[in-house]
Amino acid sequence: MVDSLEKKSFATALAGYFGNFKLSEHATGVGFILLFLLATIVGWPNFLQFRNLTNILRQISYTGIIGLGMTLIIISGGIDLSVGSMTAFTGGITIFFLNLFPGDSVLAVILSSMFAIVFGSICGLFNGLLVTKGRIAPFIATLGTMSIFRSLIQYFSGAGNILSNNNLYADIGSGVFLRIPVPVWVFIAVAVVLHIVLNDTRFGRYVCAVGANEQVARYSAIKVQTIKLIPYVITGFTAGLTALLWSSRLNCINPSDCTGYELDAIAAAVIGGTSMSGGKGSVMGTVMGAVMLGMINNMLVLGGVSSYLQQAARGLVIIVAVLLQYNNKN
């Protein structure tokens, strides 16, 4: 009894410091911190090295960037299973495009970067149109395009590596700026932008409204179909960015690259507190979710867990992390 009272007053004191801090509203953050501590212990002393941390960040930035777009889709009440295929497809076509230019041309690199983003957005638009105009359940529509994108890039490449002829291109993906790799900067930038979009723009507000209750949104003069469409385009945009970053890092694309990205992207969003039934979620949560996934992987390798059981351990840690979150909420 006394114990719990003391705890309470301590918590109250803490709450005082943080103003209106509520543990329940920071469940993801708490899960994050616990996991970070665990990883520090398991991966001691390597885990805490600056280089290791930036490695983790770079590793997760590819699916992380896509996860940010995916967060918007999920909040709007949809889902996109095609992102992995879309990334490989976009990356491959971008290198084809890049190779149209002779030599190590800077212009070619700039144009191709833009091309990747536009091309990705168009793929996303295609998904979005199937869902909104075609009125196909998002799961099925994007399951279909998942096969289509993958198949097309295999067809165009003859299932072989697509190599770039431009050595400058590699500078984008393997670049480092202020000791932080370029993909991480991009991840941060996209996260900040989409955080603002979600929380501080009309569009973001409408995405939440549509995901929460489509009918109410319609009766509130919101263009529901448009609002549902745009997140797919944004996700296509993020897939295009990832395609650019990944293909330029190795200066080549294999048509089987980026499989399973969809699961990582969705997992990041859901671990970060985005509800699969739509209507609520947070971009910063997804960032934390993505980093948590990266930490789990890193920790398992550093900790020397049996390679057969790594998958199991990974699954377990995800479940426990989410479990902790939930129990914090109550």
């Binding site: 009309r202 507000r205 409204a209 109410v216 949104a217 509130s220 003069a221 209507g279």
Partner: protein, 514 residues
């Protein structure tokens, strides 16, 4: 058994249900403050109070949906712990909740028997019997709804009847009805009251929540008043009149609901609808609306008034007909077009089409007018908050915090937030479909005054209401609809209950399409 005597209760009576010292707090906000109440077997107990007074909360505690922070519940003198709704059900308590608790994807009879299915010996569902009994029950309520229709396709009044049937099917000893009559009028109300009297005769105890004091006077034996979570009084209905009740509810004198009508004979037509057709729902509907006018739309449940204005707002596919605003023909394909033209439509279905449950007050209020709060592409949240505070004051919205999600608000307060959303669009034409559903008398008067104020500013208002007196007390002209057509238009002294009923039932006016 020795029953401790709850204060203010005749001890000799046969007490079926009593609550003692019931207190309920949500986080730190006290919503109910040691309520003591005893209800006699076979009585109809009225429960009234302003929006947010705690009526629904009290009822939810009795039916196990909420747990009290403190206090006990006694059933037949014995202390019971009602942990969830199924416990309440097993104890013979059933509830008609304030918000619809129906599954849209199931049919009428499936909903009526949900949680209470009849099964064959084999364990499979006895659909035939359930259909039959559901039909019989609806028949008893004089509600001609086919038992195989999907709930999602029903109008709110029809849903309400299904909701009542569902509660009745449990054959409970205690029937709790939280504002069952908000969507009902005329003969539906009569049949419901008849039924309640029958139940009472069978020894069923009824708790009846309503904002319509006349109904309370008509059907109840005693009436309990709550104010700010505190029990104010328990009286037999004969000992109080409507004015007393209103005074007890709001804590000060209350005289008159309807502000004086201010007739305007402006000829300036702002909205003209001609020959509107919507497949299966509307036939050749024409009407005009003048500047600054308060126009009424009356009719029986299902007359098509809701559909008419959904069509005008671009929410339904219009097959034929024209709409002109201020003399200019317009095409409205989407609700956005309508809003841009200065139209506003407050739906009767607050839950399904109105509020966003997990949004807070500011987000709900600015949902349509959001563009006004955007500065350099970003939402100015401070301005949003300020505007929300403004409306909280204007409409007297009771809430612990502006940041609380709307799902935790009392029904009436949700309605006020919803009203504020549309008012905030600064409309030229405001259509209010059952605007005072679930609103307490005091707030009702405030809303009426507000409508008058808008009209005085030159904003034209259309009031669709099933409450005859609302239309009569408020409007300068009244269209009466029947079966998707305009049966007639009443003015001046013709606006009275008799004329409206004659037109609504087809005794007078245009009878059939053709």
């Amino acid at each position: 058994m020795d029953i401790p005597k709850p204060p203010g209760v005749v001890p000799s009576a046969d007490i079926i249900l009593s609550v003692e010292g019931i207190t309920k707090e949500f986080s730190t906000v006290r919503v109910l403050d040691s309520i003591d109440l005893a209800i006699e077997r076979g009585e109809v107990m009225g429960l009234i109070g302003e929006n947010g007074a705690g009526k629904s909360t009290l009822i939810k505690i009795i039916s196990g949906i909420y747990q009290p922070t403190a206090g006990t519940i006694r059933l037949n003198g014995e202390v019971v712990r009602i942990g969830d709704y199924s416990t309440a059900k097993n104890l013979g308590i059933s509830i008609v909740p304030q918000e619809f608790n129906l599954i849209n994807t199931l049919t009428v009879y499936e909903n009526i028997f949900l949680g209470n299915e009849i099964r064959l010996k084999s364990g499979l569902l006895d659909k035939g019997t359930m259909r039959k009994q559901a039909a019989a029950q609806l028949q008893e309520l004089r509600m001609p709804v086919k038992v195989d229709r999907l709930i999602g396709d029903l109008s709110v009044a029809e849903k309400q009847m299904v909701e009542i049937s569902k509660a009745l099917m449990l054959h409970a000893r205690i029937l709790i009805m939280d504002e069952p009559t908000t969507t009902l009028t005329g003969h539906e109300l009569e049949t419901l009251f008849t039924l309640m009297r029958q139940l009472k005769a069978q020894g069923v105890t009824i708790i009846f929540v309503s904002h319509k004091l006349r109904e309370v006077k008509t059907i109840c034996d005693r009436v309990t008043v709550l104010r700010d979570g505190k029990l104010i009084s328990v009286d037999t209905v004969d000992s109080v009149d409507e004015k007393d009740l209103a005074r007890k509810m709001i804590g000060r004198d209350f005289t008159q609901v309807f502000p004086a009508k201010k007739y305007r004979d402006g000829t300036d037509v702002v909205l003209q609808v001609e020959h509107l057709e919507v497949r299966n729902l509307l036939h050749d509907v024409s009407f005009t609306l003048r500047r600054g006018e308060i126009l009424g739309f009356a009719g029986l449940v299902g007359a098509g008034r809701t559909e008419l204005f959904e069509a005008v707002m671009g929410l339904r596919h219009v097959e034929r007909g024209s709409i002109a605003i201020e003399g200019k023909a317009v095409r409205i394909r989407h609700a956005r077009d309508a809003v841009d033209l200065g139209l506003a439509y407050i739906s009767e279905d607050r839950q399904g089409k109105g509020i966003v449950q997990n949004f807070d007050i500011p987000k709900n209020i600015t949902l349509i007018s959001l563009v006004e709060y955007v500065k350099r592409h970003l939402i100015d949240k401070q301005a949003e908050g300020k505007k929300a505070s403004h409306y909280v004051k204007v409409f007297n919205i009771v809430a612990a915090s502006q940041k609380m999600a709307l799902r935790y608000f009392s029904g009436g307060n949700q309605q006020k937030v919803y009203l504020a959303r549309w008012v905030d669009t600064d409309p030229k034409i405001l259509v209010l479909d059952e605007p005072t559903r679930g609103i307490d008398v005091n707030a009702k008067r405030e809303i009426y005054e507000f409508i008058h104020m808008l009209a005085a500013k030159g904003i034209s208002c259309i009031v669709i209401s099933s409450e005859m007196e609302e239309v009569i007390g408020l409007c300068s002209r009244v269209y009466v609809m029947k079966e998707g057509m305009v049966a007639g238009c009443l003015t001046d002294e013709h606006i009275n209950e008799e004329e409206i009923m004659f037109h609504a039932t087809g005794i007078k006016g245009r009878k059939a399409y053709g």
